[in-house]
Symmetry: C2
Amino acid sequence: MTRKPKANLEDIARETGVSKMTVSRVLRGGSGFSDDTRTRVLQVAERLGYIPNRLAAAFGADQASTLVGICVPRLTSGLFAHVLDGVDRALTRLGYQVMIGCNNHSAEDEEAWLRQLISWRPAGVILSGRHHSPGTVDLLRNAGMPVVEIWELTTTPIDMAVGFSHFDCGAEMGQFLIRRGRRRIGVVGAMAGQDEMGRARRDGVERALAQAGHPVAAAELLLDTPGFYAGYYGLETLLSRAPGLDAVYFHNDEMAIGGLAYAQARGLRVPEDLAIAGWGGMEAASVLPLRLTTTVVPTTAIGKLAAEGLVARLRGEPVQDVVAVPTRLVPGQTV
Amino acid sequence: MTRKPKANLEDIARETGVSKMTVSRVLRGGSGFSDDTRTRVLQVAERLGYIPNRLAAAFGADQASTLVGICVPRLTSGLFAHVLDGVDRALTRLGYQVMIGCNNHSAEDEEAWLRQLISWRPAGVILSGRHHSPGTVDLLRNAGMPVVEIWELTTTPIDMAVGFSHFDCGAEMGQFLIRRGRRRIGVVGAMAGQDEMGRARRDGVERALAQAGHPVAAAELLLDTPGFYAGYYGLETLLSRAPGLDAVYFHNDEMAIGGLAYAQARGLRVPEDLAIAGWGGMEAASVLPLRLTTTVVPTTAIGKLAAEGLVARLRGEPVQDVVAVPTRLVPGQTV
DNA sequence: TGCCGCAAGTTTACCGGTAACGTAGCCAAA
DNA sequence: TTTGGCTACGTTACCGGTAAACTTGCGGCA
């Protein structure tokens, strides 16, 4: 089955009549060879269909890996998909390869994945969130490679960080709801609170509302993943327990849209009877008949900045350790 | 910076007082050592914080790679996100690592990515679609590793295939629209037709409508990526060119929901004045006030089956070369 | 004329595993 | 007593690159 590629440096060297070291230098674009040699080597390499063996290169030389790992909490989230896209485009352009992982919002899964990743001796790694297991931090310190923590901001990164404050997102929306005259405000969470960052947003809302003198009226913390269904049934459950709410803050836009669907199915007028606020800024939110009030997050930019920061560090260029990206509260028509 | 992990097999061997070959055998769970030796080796490995070097293993032994590549047309599509999730879960469970790629619906980009992937000597690869460049096919034949083509079905796979017929999806929806009495049917496409599979669906619709004696009344092929905005403005454009349509088939659900938003904004009654059909089965489609008529695709299952088939082949187990997964037309309330 | 420096190479050693093969010691069957 | 097989190892060679050190030939310059 796995017959190996036909040509290696040795083969090219033999055909060209030089040493394999010279071939290596030519193919990597170094110096110490004549134009004539270069041309001949390239021709032979082309003719033999040479494909470099990065395994050997990274193994032999250390320092030479072009592999970067990225671990996100969920692969099926539209937001992380865009982060991944930003990372992938930037790294591909810069000549790196991307190994993915998914930790299901679990620090243990993250550590397990990281252990696998490190066994490939990558050039760097991008993690999501700022909460990691002690084992994870240990592994990273020993590996001595660049690390970027994305999504949530931290002032004490393991190495570098690109993100924003989820707490502030929540607080800002809480204040907004108050300014719009809402007083009986509920929240719908997801994933049993395992999503630390979703929890930070809820904490932000709670703090803002409490400070305004109108603390959270009711909260429903679902076990489900934060999707449309969960939003739909989450709002149903919340309203059955606490009728008379005049606003609800959802874990994210998908849930908010699900909630919006429920409200409309129930004949509630949005925003007159009930205001609905989401988070994340998914595209669908802005083409609904009722544009969703939400906080837009620069997903792709985060991925891009993280990737570029990582590579800059690898190249020894100066980098900013902590990059705060701006989020933007977009008042729609649902509040 | 990149200081290497402290312990390797040699270190463990020295500390334990055996040869590194014995350590290797113990750690890989082979045979040829006593229980006592096993215990001591494991203890030392644990104490030294040994992390295997898969680079060296895969390089030295060939055949020993646990790296699998997967290339999808777009990372930001919700459908492919689920495919990726299915692949990732299955492969992680089976002890493999996943390298991702994105080809932007371009065969050249796919080939470029594959070339990078192969330089890592992976155990196998999963590609999307059945149209590949000659170079891609060449690379794969020479690499001699398992290949799974997913998403679109083919009777002549390079190696294995897991998918369904996009043409049939389109044809089925076309017939459905006709059965529901629609006669002036339009279609909205995306990505300038570069998405071969979206084109196959349109071809299916066209064929079905033509056979029924009511050929496609109007078609709008956008340049954009298939998102909500594109659906919104796509329908606007289509209706301005061809007023009086009584049904529109969209490239996918996201566009259909965008189209639905436009129809409602324009005061069109759906489905009375205009029927709207999507494709893909995104979750949002079923919680809208008006449940979208669409074709549900088993995304996660495709990823899972592809990953499992790949690993089965690697293990020399018997596998089915071509697996057809079922899609399901779900009549919603928009037709 | 002799020395230096540079361009254009070559040679050697090594990265950390694994396959293949070798071997010592022991026990059981012939 | 010999032989044969088994267990539990050890030895050797090698995978395909790259860093570092070494060599060779040539032109310029004192």
